[in-house]
């Protein structure tokens, strides 16, 4: 299976490495050449330097044959647009988009985009933890 990861920061690079570990063929895309270092010295996948809004960059990364794409640049709106382009123009089956703003994540999720919102996850986990009155790990342990 082939995947393209757009945005190779902390999240993107970890997802890319995780997919490779599970046997995927992965190409990462980032504007910044230094992002390649996050993938490690023995990175077996592809790496394309460029902006994910640029269709030539996306095509060089193999979006026309990809089974899945993960979009996790540092801009919510950039991710939302690239995610929709990958879904509608390149018809990639699984497209996951990282969106930090919960409201926008929900808005686009209602319209058929697979958004993941770490902020919302953090809010939920924090709330649940406080509400359930879980003791501190040190005391529990």
């Amino acid at each position: 299976m082939k995947a393209v990861v757009v945005g190779c920061g902390r999240v993107g690079s970890a997802v890319a490495k995780g997919l490779v570990a599970h046997g995927w063929q992965v190409t990462a895309v980032d504007q910044n050449e230094d992002a390649l270092m996050r993938l490690g010295a023995d990175w077996p996948g592809g790496f394309v330097i460029g902006h994910g809004m640029d269709t030539r960059v996306l095509e060089e990364a193999g979006v026309t044959e990809a089974d899945a794409a993960v979009v996790a640049t540092n801009g919510d709106n950039t991710n939302l647009v690239i995610g929709q382009v990958l879904q509608k123009r390149y018809e990639i089956g699984t497209v996951v988009v990282r969106v930090l703003d919960p409201a926008r994540a929900a808005f686009y999720a209602e319209r058929g985009l697979n958004t993941v919102c770490p902020t919302q996850t953090a809010i939920s986990v924090l709330l649940d933890t406080v509400r359930s009155g879980a003791p501190a790990p040190s005391r529990a342990g």
């Binding site: 809004m53 939302l80 926008r104």
Partner: protein, 221 residues
């Protein structure tokens, strides 16, 4: 009408100024504190500070009324696309016009359903293409100071106005047909004059409306 202007750069500020002069109600959104301060000084309380791609900010600006027109004119194409999408899809804004900063992104706007876009680069290139060569339009005289220009247009057989009476032709504001040269004779134009293929029409145009006039007389090709 009610207009929400997202982005207070040159395009947003000038659009807002013109819309207000025309008597429209405007709310403008600008994120940068320095720009916001300047805009607030000029426009007062109609300027809001915030990120126009945040739904709560758009709601405070009255996106749910909804406005008759939404202008997404920030300097960032992704932002403009998201603003226009939220307005159109989330709040049934009928008319959203988005600014495209990089012409290569135009395709994304079209793909994602934002059909009304303005791209300065594309417009300028379009003008350049129209100017050289100028199909069917000859600029005879330019009076810089007066802002006037005398142009000549030759009516073609497939021109939309061939066979039309001058009274029925809607020439752009600021332009006037002066005379028609046909069969070696010049006639001054009046309302009863009928334009025919082969006619060479002299016109006076104000403030660069020559291309608009050409479009009316020859169609948009």
């Amino acid at each position: 009408m009610y207009v929400v202007v997202a982005g207070g750069g040159k395009v947003g500020a000038n659009s807002t100024r013109s819309l207000l002069e025309m008597g429209h109600e405007v709310t403008m959104i600008e994120q940068r504190p320095d720009r916001f301060a300047v805009l607030e000084g000029e426009f007062g309380e109609i300027v809001m500070r915030g990120d126009a791609t945040e739904i709560s900010v758009l709601e405070r600006a009255g996106i749910a009324r909804p406005p008759e027109l939404l202008l997404a004119v920030t300097g960032d194409d992704e932002d403009n696309l998201v603003i226009a999408q939220i307005g159109k899809e989330g709040y049934r804004v009928e008319k959203a016009i988005a600014r495209v900063n990089d012409p290569r992104n135009q395709q994304h706007f079209e793909l994602l359903g934002i059909k009304q876009t303005v791209c300065a680069t594309t417009s300028i290139l379009g003008l350049v293409e129209h100017e050289v060569p100028e199909h069917g339009l000859v600029r005879l005289l330019q009076l810089q100071e007066e802002g006037l220009e005398i142009v000549e247009v030759q009516i073609e057989p497939n021109s939309p106005v061939a066979g039309s009476r001058v009274a029925g032709i809607r020439v752009p504001e600021g332009s006037r047909l002066i005379s028609v040269f046909r069969h070696g004779r010049t006639e001054l134009v009046d309302d009863k004059t009928v334009l025919r293929p082969g006619d060479q029409v002299l016109a006076m145009v104000q403030n660069d409306t020559a291309l608009d006039l050409r479009k009316v007389l020859l169609g948009s090709k």
